[in-house]
Amino acid sequence: MHIPDGYLSPPVMGVLGAASLAGVAAAARKASQALDESRVPLMGMAGAFVFAAQMINFPVAAGASGHLLGGALLAITLGTAPAVVVMTAILAIQALLFQDGGVLALGANVFNMAMAGVAAGGWAWQAFGGPGRRRLAAFAAGSLSALAAACLALAELAASGIRIPGAALGLALGIFALTALLEGAITAAVAAALESVQPGLLGRTHGSPRRALSGLLLASLLLAAAGFLIASSLPDGLEHLAEAIGITGLERAVLAAPMPDYEAKWLGGDWLQKAGAGLLGLIVTAAVCWAAGRWISRWRSA
Amino acid sequence: MSCIVHARGLRFAYQTGREILRGVDFQLHRGESVAVFGRNGSGKTTFLLHLNGILRGEGHLRVCDLPVEPPHLRQIRRKIGFLFQDPEDQLFRPTILEDAAFGPRQAGLSREEAEHRARRALASVGMEEDLDRAPYHLSSGEKQRVALAGILAVEPEVLILDEPTTHLDPPARRALIELLQTLPQAKLVVTHDAPFARALCPRAVFFDHGRIVADGPTEEIIRRFGWDLGSPPETSPAPR
């Protein structure tokens, strides 16, 4: 789901923008080392492939059909860091030249689809993969990647004060689940077909336990987003959530808006201020977990 | 120095062990035009890719009196103009002018000088209009001419063309022959197009299983191996 401009509140936009800038810069550095000298043509062609692939329909049922989203397949074939770069490039092209997703909102869309989605896909491929289990791993990669991206997007919209009534929320989550299953199925089918067309295109899997930390991080992020979504549809849910996380005192400080206009328009009520702080807190927590995980695994392997 | 390509005992195998070139001996002289025949998979393109160092094999290979090795590759790649089979793979700059100017820019020329050379090269292939447009809307013949201009802009000594007539209709084929006939560079042309080879190249070589098994007048080679639809081969290449 590509979020357009003008929907996200400044704190959400700001935090996600910063996280994306840092994440993409890191991925670009890693990708420059990962693939060989032909990486720009390879990555560029993979990106162009994703666009072209959207024209091939996958029949679902009763005349409905879907198409490949791509994050997981990119992670499987190129590796996680290059896939992040390619997805970012795709999203930027979509925002600039297809008006699909906003330009300011790129921070959020990149976070959801190019980082969380790709990371979820890459993680699932590594974690579930192994001899004889590649199809399953590809299915898991596709589903988790699509689900993570969609749930995060919806959570960010809710955190920005976009009203989503409970029934619509349920419907949205239902659609996300179906989309995720379809993406999983497509990714698995294409990965299997690739094995026979040109074996060696799929990355190797180790299924190593080191990945458990990043898996844990992803899971916590997703649970947080899901919990947030559910809480946001209940009248007092977010207040309870904010109190439970222990950041109720923070919202005044964090959300001291530079533009009074913004506060009136975006924060229609007290509970939304807490919501903004809540999401902020969750993202900060997630970032800390990730950094800790990296530090720990580096320390362990030293 | 009249011998600008000198290969002796050139061998190449993939990392999997599959041998593609099994000892190629070949000489190309200044200004010569040579057609390269052979079945698909016989090693023609692989051999050509050695001449500008894209593939590295074993044996003796000198191009324009330089060994085909890293310190000399930049210079060799300017002296060898390689026209790939699909111009789509070769035109990667946003506009026609920029693509033709890419070679000169890489050679260190200023933007103005590079564009000047590019315009001259484009004019020599008959492309003078719409130079600030993207190349994707051109016909295959026009794309090929732009790609050729990009190569000519750095004033090479050898032109290598890999199956240049594959996507061309008869008028475009004729135009290409006429254009190539005006160019003084030595030419190596991989082609299955016998009439094209006849019109352009007095000499031909025939590749078979990674070696050159025949080297002589084009007409003779065509007749011997039946490379023209009208006549059956006098001797047939070894079965695959």
């Binding site: 357009p4 401009d5 003008g6 929907y7 996200l8 810069a25 670009a28 420059s32 720009v40 043509p41 390879l42 560029g44 062609m45 990106g47 162009a48 666009f51 072209a52 692939a53 024209m55 091939i56 329909n57 029949p59 770069v85 930027a92 092209i93 600039l96 030249l97 008006q99 906003g102 330009v103 300011l104 009203r163 009534p165 089918a189 294409v190 077909a193 690739l194 067309v197 040109q198 295109l201 533009m259 009136a264 229609g268 | 890719l49 500008n52 894209i54 790649r77 390689f82 790939f84 699909d86 793979d89 990667f92 890419f102 070679g103 890489q106 447009r133 993207a134 994707y136 990009g150 190569i151």
Partner: protein, 202 residues
């Protein structure tokens, strides 16, 4: 529903090569101005009043304002869903904002891309510190998405002609073939770059 990537998607290529005063402005100014316009649109409630501004600028730059207005409308279906939910909840000001904010933003982006060739926008972004690798990949994607889309379209037509286009497995096989072909093409492009002494795009 996936649509064919055809001529209309490359309209920006044509429009951006005009010669008006706007086209000749340095891309860094245009990019910075567009970002500022987007920020104001997102944050100020009165920004809707500036909605005609991108269209007026388009006219002044001899660009087809109606075409830009139509392109920006691509955001409306998605926006209408969320606007509808707000409106049904009784908040009509927010509902309106959820429609005009993305639309006006899309107008500004369309104007930027219609007045500035993509490679200049990418070069400006590089000057502002965007990661080079991402920009190079973007350039490549734009260059080859038409080529690969044509290939995908031909595969789709060929499959349909054989009566096989309603099969999941056939589509998966088509994608695998397309991916492998794209991979091979990437290798060929890399070789063509090497042959002209280019190791990357700059």
């Amino acid at each position: 529903m996936a649509e064919r990537i055809g001529g209309r998607h490359f309209a920006f290529d044509e429009w951006s090569r005009g010669g008006s005063w706007l086209h000749r402005l340095d891309a860094r100014w245009k990019l910075a101005a567009a970002l500022a316009a987007l920020l104001l649109t997102a944050l100020r409630g009165e920004a809707w009043m500036a909605a005609p501004l991108p269209l007026l600028l388009a006219l002044a730059a001899r660009l087809p304002a109606h075409a830009l207005a139509w392109r920006a409308a691509a955001v409306l279906p998605f926006a209408a869903v969320f606007a509808g939910m707000s409106w049904l909840a009784g908040d009509s000001t927010r509902a309106a904002a959820l429609l005009w904010r993305p639309y006006v933003s899309a107008l500004w982006v369309s104007l930027l891309m219609a007045a500035t060739p993509l490679e200049e926008v990418l070069a400006a972004a590089a000057r502002f510190g965007a990661p080079r690798l991402v920009l190079e990949v973007m350039h490549f994607i734009w260059r080859y998405l038409g080529v690969l889309s044509e290939q995908a379209w031909r595969m789709r037509t060929a499959a349909a002609a054989r009566g096989a286009d309603r099969s999941f497995e056939v589509s998966a096989a088509s994608l695998a073939v397309l991916f492998a072909a794209s991979y091979q093409r990437a290798l060929r492009v890399h070789r063509a770059q090497l042959a002209r002494n280019g190791g990357g795009l700059r």
